[in-house]
Subunit: 147 residues, 2 copies
């Protein structure tokens, strides 16, 4: 059951696999989803089946973020493949526009300490996947111990 | 407590973030870890702090995989950024060398059906991360409902 009260403004920066996956999922819901990328071709591919809004522009330009509605965003996900861009977008969202929920994709996991200090949630796909693979390997060892 | 009986031969193909993260973790344990990549520079960077064995070579060449010890591997993780290479390595491991545990990184999630049929485990970092971000967004909605 959809509840209009819960309709959120979700701004996603970066339309790679991660960004476009989230964007497409939310576009099927009742949320307002805006997807920003500086690559016109990638945006066109995503946009073909995307029900939300796409914004072509450089996310390190604050005017691009304003065009994408950062001022009214409830959630900002910065999912580009560039840690510096993700840090920039997260900081702008958190410190200037006081966006409550900010999530940044993180390649260089050692940077997570800095994010923690800023109270910005991070996601490291490779670390997350590595943990899951290790869990798989651990289970397979346990199985061979039993056998 | 380490148990020699549980020492495993782990072959990892692809020394990007995911592959090298797993390789380094296991190299600190008692397992035999071999890491294969065709990029000499990347292998050098990883190898500098890596306690296992590195093999320079093209993983789509079966002789590279033999040099890396696929015949005695207990676990093969194919974590390159190329789905076709990962499919090739997984199939060689599973079908020719009867490796019990094979895990492939998967970019194009729609291919997962094919992997399921082959009984090969897959990991899609972007899908996994998207699910976690969605969980984060869901929680933030619940919090705002309570407030």
């Amino acid at each position: 059951m959809k509840n209009k009260k819960n309709k959120k403004n979700i701004l996603i920066v970066g339309s790679g696999k991660l960004g476009s996956h989230i964007a497409n999922d939310y576009a099927l819901n009742d949320d307002n989803v805006v997807l920003v990328d500086q690559d016109e071709n990638i945006l066109k591919i995503v946009g073909a089946k995307f029900n939300g809004q796409t914004i072509l522009g450089d996310a390190t330009d604050i005017y691009t973020l304003k065009r994408a509605g950062i001022e009214n965003a409830d959630i900002v996900v910065s999912a580009t493949n560039n840690d510096n861009i993700n840090i920039f977008v997260s900081l702008i969202a958190k410190e200037i526009y006081k966006v409550k929920n900010v999530i940044a994709r993180l390649y260089e996991h050692t940077l997570s300490i800095a994010y923690d200090k800023l109270n910005i949630a991070t996601i490291s796909p490779s670390v997350l996947s590595a943990e899951l693979i290790k869990e798989f390997i651990r289970s397979s060892k346990e199985i061979s111990e039993i056998n």
